[in-house]
Symmetry: C2
Subunit: 453 residues, 2 copies
């Protein structure tokens, strides 16, 4: 089968993601004749991506029609697939929230943007239920875990989150000296919280080889450790492996727990010289990279004196979005790493929680490979505590309530006292970034007591 | 029906509990002819309670046979019912652990005794499975929530936890000026974590009356607030009500969260003059009371010049243990507040978690009254976080593992850093109170890194 689709892209102004998407759809022959609506609230960005897309397709002679809009409804109406890559307010807003949170005593900020993001996703899903109820939503922007759970619980539309973090498994193999081609491995759990449940080299358990590397080679590897933004083989990752019994993969070791992130010195101990991806140094470097790549795409799109395919060679990105679409639409069956409602795949996790697992994708739909029960040690040391946090964010997204927010803040290890938590929750309600959330929040009948200090 | 039972009492040296038990069984006519084995690892205590029991029964002319033993097997073999009131090492050991934990930076200690207690309960349940597999176990000592869950999960024997904390509902009514006789209320959840899901006065919702009391009378009530060991109407309880939307009952407001317990000053703010039941002052007062009452029972038992029934009048204690036994054994049907496996009673809580609910008790067994889903706000602000903690304690009890213990310690708000957690977990493994636990613990293949500081 080879049938064209109508695809809506929400947040298409995310230049880096969208330029990859344009490349990938142009390189998927089964999708010839498809039409793509690039939607972004920022008209200039949407227009730039449209220019990029039409020029790129034309250079390749690919029969893909691109239009752009600032109206979500236009992207969703009649869509077969929707890809959501939107981030509310972009990096600028995330950084504004972070710096304000730091002034309130929360080093590197508080993950409140997750609630704002989930509420955007929810509203996209609700619009889809109205405008294209049979379409698949492919979620690209974060938080995939909480966001996909919110969308499926609240609307019942078909949702699949896609992330490339699982490729970190190759890094594990490579660093300990194994040929990644001879490694067979699986890492599952929740998005950004995945753990290697299978790790085999030439058909045999490779965990003893990892143990041997830790024992004999890690100290040398970590001498003057300067892995930049990479955390896959950091001391943090290995300590999390020791704690849980399974190796964390991709973005997983970036999180792990408050004790890895107390301050820059602490981050340096666990993530090397610059303190990892999420330190002020690492994140600054990441943002600089982003802005540079975005500027390059922008400039290239507008500079018609060059061929885009010279600057951005016509190679697939390796992302799973179009293999997934091709499988679902054209029955080009493939096994992918997806984020979908659990429905029994991982025993002991509720059915309506979105889990990251392997699944056979075809015209039948997405069929997760049943996992069974994960090790008790992993459940208790990471997955269950993480799920507890996620449920709070999910709740705040579906039914915003000052009291749940207060408990989220109280549960943060950096919160110094009841008064600290309460004053933070109160203060954020006068910040412009939280205006929508504040308006939607239920408040208790009585006000809480704030001791004058 | 009226049939005698064979009852085994584990930890019968708990003089206060056992003297009430003796009184209650002697005052249950349906159980005439029953035999009771008083078992305690401390022979002197068991003997004293046996003396007390035989004298008391004889004064009342009650046909109940009492024997004593230090052998658990003797108490369990052929038992129809077992009541477990044992506390490992008694108050002495709990205080020794507490004071050592304080030296490690944990004010008022760390709830590690819960793991030790659960492991004792587990071993009792395992013995029952062997020696009296059809008997009911009635759990009296704490932690009822985690302990009953461990026992039912691990052995499948019939377990029911009993606690009198739910009587706190009467205090709520009384303090806000309602006649408790005209109040109809229900408080459910987990043991020591129960919340008023129904609160009606003369058939109408009484929550507005509570709100009015808070608005207009609480400030006056809390002026120079000195409620002793009582926390039912403390600022902590009311603040937890505001946070969750439901009033906490009994022992519930004693917990609530770290932010109520940072130091004595903090406790005083929330619990009044002596800082509540669990401050150094409150707990000291509680222990003095215990020791005094135990001494009184001991002296009375041995002083044959007095009638015991003069000192301990022949009135039922109001505890639910014998009404429950009479219902299960003699079909004297009654609705009680019990702790049993959820099995769907509270939606959204796994079936194999022990919940505190109302149940009709009869020869058919214990049949919980189905509750449905509890309010989302209560789940997110209290019940789900509490269950997450409980599952860690349950896991440590069933499969002791240094890594789960480490995560429990890391999750405690008082833990200052990874190194603090790790040194605490390492140090406790050389304490005599944790010798059994340490021997049973699984350790990771590699040792964790402890930064020299």
């Amino acid at each position: 089968m080879a049938r064209p689709i109508k695809l809506g892209v929400i947040g298409a102004g995310s230049a880096e993601f969208s330029s990859g998407l344009v490349r990938d759809i142009c390189l998927t022959p089964n999708l010839t004749g498809s039409s793509v609506v690039l939607m972004d609230v920022d008209a200039e960005r949407a227009q730039t991506m449209h220019l990029f897309a039409t020029r790129y397709a034309s250079e390749l002679g690919a029969d893909i029609g691109f239009t752009w809009t600032t109206e979500r409804e236009e992207a969703l109406t009649g869509a077969d697939f929707v890809i959501n890559t939107a981030q509310v307010g972009g990096h600028t807003q995330v950084e504004a929230i972070r710096s304000w949170c730091e002034s309130q005593g929360y080093y590197r900020g508080f993950k409140l943007w997750a609630i704002i993001q989930c509420r955007l996703m929810l509203s996209v899903a609700q619009d889809m239920k109205r405008l294209c109820p049979d379409a698949w939503l492919i979620q690209a922007s974060n938080p995939v875990f909480e966001g996909c759970t919110v969308m499926t619980r609240a609307t019942g539309i078909k949702v699949c989150g896609i992330c490339h973090g699982h490729h970190g498994q190759r890094t594990v193999a490579r660093v300990i000296g194994l040929d990644p081609g001879k490694v067979r491995s699986v890492a599952i759990g929740f998005n950004h919280e995945i753990w290697m449940t299978q790790f085999e080299y030439e058909g045999k358990d490779a965990y003893p080889l990892l143990d041997e590397w830790i024992e004999t080679k890690s100290a040398e590897y970590w001498k003057d450790f300067d892995p930049g933004l990479e955390s896959q083989m950091s001391p943090a990752a290995i300590e999390l492996y020791k704690l849980t019994g399974l190796m964390p993969v991709g973005d997983t070791p970036r999180n792990g727990g408050w004790w890895l992130h107390q301050d820059l010195e602490c981050k340096r101990r666990w993530y090397g010289k610059i303190g990892g991806f999420d330190s002020e140094i690492g994140w600054g470097r990441y943002l600089d990279g982003c802005f540079g790549r975005v500027a390059k795409i922008h400039d290239a799109a507008h500079d018609t004196s060059n061929k885009l395919t010279d600057i951005f060679p016509a190679r697939p990105t390796g992302e799973q979005h179009f293999p997934l679409i091709d499988a679902l639409w054209n029955d080009n069956e493939v096994t992918l790493q997806v984020n979908v409602p659990n429905r029994g795949a991982i025993e002991g996790v509720p059915d309506d929680v979105v889990v990251e697992v392997q699944a056979v994708c075809s015209h039948r739909g997405i069929q997760p490979l049943h996992v069974g029960r994960l090790p008790e040690l992993l459940m208790r040391t990471q997955l269950a505590p993480r799920l507890n946090q996620a449920e709070q964010v999910i709740s705040m997204s579906m039914w915003p309530d000052e009291r749940v927010l207060l408990r989220i803040v109280l549960d943060d290890h950096r919160t110094r006292s009841w008064d600290h938590a309460l004053s933070f929750v109160r203060a954020l309600q006068s910040r412009p970034e939280f205006a929508d959330l504040t308006a939607a929040m239920a408040h208790p009948r009585h006000s809480f007591s704030l001791m004058s200090t």
